[in-house]
């Protein structure tokens, strides 16, 4: 039953072991040249502003319509993302969006950008998937209350080998609901990275232990732990990008674990901020 050949892929479709989930996201905040996570946007699935107990790891587990829904499968079977179609509508066309599809594993909410003390995190809950942290990215996002300046922070985390590490990274003022993961050790604008710069030898993040702002950015922040699953590039406004993972992208079908909290982030270039609306579907197979 396992999917190990192209014949198995076709058999999954022929035998009904597939599901297509349509998605629709209402207009985002206006952005350009930053990574914008779609889960902030209302629609289907529901918007997720990353609420929870402050500074407490909140695991993300699919529950009905809180993320891109897929059906339960019999024990022992494996689920894969077979294909995705996405089309976008920008409020005024800037450029083609670059898209990263990922599993949002959990987050630390409401980190205070006006607090220069050590803010310790509650890790009573742990990663629900990719539990070692291998390949897990640490993503800073400004949420709920906008930053007023570029910040600088020391972040202490446990890497995927179980070793505590500490990095000093800037927290750029990129805008509300947008990624602000820094790489540099000085407060400055930075819009390219998805995850922050990690320490020597780190291949991922298991948990985050504390943060201390040494330059206060103001506002509130969330740290998300994510596992990137796939990338794709969309086309012109309203043009659908279609990606069959089992026959394109090196046949790299991302494995979708039970409870996966699927979402995506996008990045458009240009000098004028644009809101972006999304339509599309995700197709899963299993066997």
């Amino acid at each position: 039953m396992a999917i190990r050949t192209l014949r198995d892929v076709y058999a999954a479709f022929e035998e009904g072991r597939w599901h297509t989930q349509y998605i629709y996201k209402t207009a985002s905040v206006a952005y350009t040249a930053q990574w914008a996570p779609a889960h902030f946007q209302a629609g289907k699935p529901l918007g997720n502003p990353l609420l929870g107990d402050p500074l407490t790891f909140t695991p993300c587990i699919l529950d009905r319509n809180n993320a891109i829904w897929f059906p339960d499968i019999p024990e022992g079977q494996e689920r894969y993302l077979a294909s995705v179609t996405l089309r976008h509508r920008q409020s005024g066309f800037n450029s083609y969006p670059s898209i990263v599809i990922y599993d949002l594993l959990g987050y630390y909410s409401q980190i205070d950008g006006d607090n220069d003390e050590v803010q310790e995190f509650d890790n009573t809950e742990s990663l629900p998937r990719y539990t070692s942290g291998e390949g897990v990215q640490l993503v800073m996002i400004n949420h709920l209350s906008p930053a007023a300046a570029h910040g600088l922070a020391i972040i202490n985390y446990t890497n995927s080998d179980g070793i505590d590490q500490q990095v000093t990274v800037n927290v750029p003022m990129n805008g509300l609901n947008l990624v602000c993961s820094g790489v540099r050790t000085g407060a400055a604008a930075e819009t390219g990275p998805i995850g922050i710069r990690l320490g020597p030898g780190a291949r991922g993040v298991r948990k985050v232990n504390w943060i201390k702002f040494t330059t206060l950015p103001s506002g509130l922040f969330a740290i998300c732990l994510i596992k990137v699953l796939a990338t794709l590039v969309a086309g012109d406004n309203n043009v659908t990008v279609e990606r069959e993972f089992y026959s394109k992208a090196g046949c790299y079908m991302p494995r979708i674990y039970d409870g996966a909290f699927l979402t995506w982030m996008s990045r458009i270039g240009g000098s004028t901020g644009r809101t972006v609306t999304w339509y599309g579907d995700f197709t899963f197979i299993w066997g």
């Binding site: 396992a2 999917i3 190990r4 050949t5 192209l6 014949r7 198995d8 892929v9 040249a33 494996e78 894969y80 450029s95 083609y96 670059s98 898209i99 990263v100 390949g135 990215q137 790489v183 540099r184 050790t185 400055a188 930075e190 819009t191 390219g192 990275p193 998805i194 995850g195 922050i196 710069r197 990690l198 320490g199 020597p200 030898g201 780190a202 291949r203 990137v228 990338t231 794709l232 590039v233 089992y246 026959s247 394109k248 992208a249 090196g250 046949c251 790299y252 079908m253 494995r255 990045r267 458009i268 270039g269 240009g270």
Partner: protein, 288 residues
Amino acid sequence: MDQMINAITSGQTYEFVWNKITGGTAYSAGRWYDFTLLNGTPVANNYPGTALQWRPCNEATGNGTQTFGIPHGGDVSPLLKHVLNMSAWTTSSTGVPGCLWLVDIEGYYPGINMNTTAVQNLSGTPTLRAPNGLGVRMFLVITATAGSTAHNLSYSYTNQNGVSGRTNPVTVACTASAIVGHITHSGTASNNYGPFLPLANGDTGIRSVQSVQLSAASGGGTAALVLCVPIAKITLSVQSLMTEKDLLNQIPSLPRVRDGACLGFLYGSGAATAASSTFAGTLQFVWG
């Protein structure tokens, strides 16, 4: 195709998301730069070591001081590992057009003095992942800013057949005042070659390098002579727009990644890339 799907759904894959930010000095168009020296994930490499003595690099420990190589999932022998997909983007309008060249850094000779005309004899016997050094190339990257006097580079190496005394077949000009990270013999000036140093007639690889010599003392600076195996390239064409490369279907090459490979990117700048430009991307590997 079936073998590939089998490998992927059996979990014989690894993905890594990398990012790098250029330093405080702008790059010049037409030159090549070594991104492993930049901050980001993985951490920066500064080619430490005893001057002129070979130092090997690998995935697990990098150069022995900095674990700077892009992780690719550890050793898999007797299975074979390949690069499957690549993506990359830059935030910088001056980061395009550009080219990122993924290489396996086998090791290097550090501490080459850019302020002397003396023959600098290199020591150590490289044990290379590439059998007999086949396919190995080399480049000279600045690790402390070079002086302002023009200078050429000559070198003597042992080729893939074990023949020693092989030398540069053409005049190779380095760049006066080259900045840290610049592959100093690359650029648009006369007698510039890049990113790799030209090999003698008929040579297709390098086992070791015996000596280097400059035609003039530049006035300062140090460099590292790096041996590497080129693996795959990805171009950057539009600011902020991700470039994707499928190495199974689109460019059916599935470049091999050997056990222990110490992966990093070289960057060819098609424009004068502004200081503090961010580059990032993903790499997917598969083995079977």
